[in-house]
Amino acid sequence: MNTFEYVRPATVQEAVAAASKPGAAYLAAGTNLLDLMKGGVTRPNRLVDISRLPDLDGIEDLPDGGVQIGALVRNADLAHNQAFARRFPAVAEALLSGASAQLRNAATVGGNLLQRTRCAYFYDLASSCNKRDPGSGCGARGGDNRLHAVIGCSDSCIATHPSDFCVPLVALDAIVEVEGRAGRRRIPLETFHRLPGDTPERESVLEPGEMIVAVRLPPEAAHFAARARFLKVRERTSYAFAVVSAAAALRLENGMIVEARLALGGVALKPWRAREAELLLAGARADMPLFRRVAEAALAEAKPSGDNGFKIELARRIVVRALALALAGTPERVPALPGSLFASVPGEVIHA
């Protein structure tokens, strides 16, 4: 790890000023940043410790019926907040399906959005990586790429965004509130992360020094509480990143779907909202043939970026199953294995 200057500002404004200098990085829990620094993957010359900034750790109901989640709320505190989990069960399920209890106790909401890809070539300093070292090439192209992206890739980068939390958030139209030198602004999560293009080193639309202060869910996001699920394929039962994941949410009236939300994780360098697929659901009667058509539409533009064609079919099936689980209804409590394929499910849904 390189050495660095450590500063602990007292206010958001001081933090923004301190982090606006080139080479500075924000430190919240550090669960991703310190790991990257130990590997020399990132080498900030200044850490701006925002973990004690006041007023950023609340979960507040907004007058319009939405909710504002402070950037420093810990993953576990959000997932176990009873009122929040009842209104946004897929978000709680996604949080609890991620990482380990120790990491969830530390990791923050803002940090989750800004976590870096888990691409092994990004982590390995002996490999080329356009994200870590722009212009050096992409080791994953032609390398071990079975877990890499199938949507939105470019010649320069085929990495994925690792977050589970962001998948239901983007499905539910979450808004990211940021503060920078030019003041506060709000960015839809859907446009917050950038696809790689030819600048994979730029991962979000944040300007230098800009800091996430909160994530908001609009009041409409709670309308799906009765039928909202998150489902995740991983290579071990717990404590593993998603191979692919999906968040599905349905609103039904008289047996008909009136509104639907669908997003995928593990397929692109950003949480992937499947808007066109959602349109097929609105106004339709829910059944498995419909869900299969929706899954086709959700992956319509997917293409293998290497030895990962299997992920496309896997993602289709996860979409079908997430929709079927959502249709069956949100369980009273997040299952013992959140987001798991191994949770017992009535009927044939398990084989979707």
Binding site: T3, L27, A29, T31, K38, A79, L96, A101, L103, A106
Partner: protein, 165 residues
């Protein structure tokens, strides 16, 4: 430049002069306070051997920058027994053979204490396994660990459940 910081470790206030900002909470406990019960396994947040309880919550001390925890209250494996009387979780690990080589055990025990305090798992062994999945055991004593956590939870007042999620 040296920075002075304070921790309350196992009930005792300790002041440390840190001359290197890179020091993790794990390294501070082991190298500066000679509390080597907390183990350094992967040092990357993957194995759980470094688990300690900070301000009542279990965390990976290898991914915690020490300076960030100035003023915090820390409980380590050295602080859980009352003299010669083992903590109920320690006793349960012995009674259920929740270990073989013992390297991961301090982290397992601190994680179990944290899990019981969190009161989210009830009496469901599947939830216990999921809640303990951040602690790897290369000897694969998982069966005994799960039984030990269930029994210790009972000994500490039964499976409580505070919240829904």
């Amino acid at each position: 430049m040296s920075i002075s910081m304070t921790l309350t470790v196992n009930g005792v206030k300790r002041t440390v002069e840190l001359d290197d900002p890179r020091t993790t909470l794990l390294d501070l406990l082991r190298e500066r306070l000679a509390l080597t019960g907390t183990k350094k396994g992967c040092d990357r947040g993957q194995c759980g051997a470094c688990t300690v309880i900070v301000e009542g919550r279990r965390i990976n001390s290898c991914l915690a920058l020490a300076l960030s925890y100035d003023g915090a209250e820390v409980l380590t494996i050295e602080g859980v027994a009352q003299g010669d009387r083992l903590h109920p979780v320690q006793k349960a690990f012995l009674d259920h053979d929740g270990l073989q080589c013992g390297f991961c055990t301090p982290g397992q025990i601190m994680s179990a204490i944290g899990l019981i305090q969190e009161a989210q798992v009830g009496d469901d062994p599947e939830r216990v396994r999921e809640g303990m999945s951040g602690n790897l055991c290369r000897c694969a004593a998982y069966q005994g660990i799960t039984e030990a956590v269930m029994e210790a939870q009972k000994a500490l007042g039964g499976p409580a459940r505070r919240e829904v999620a």
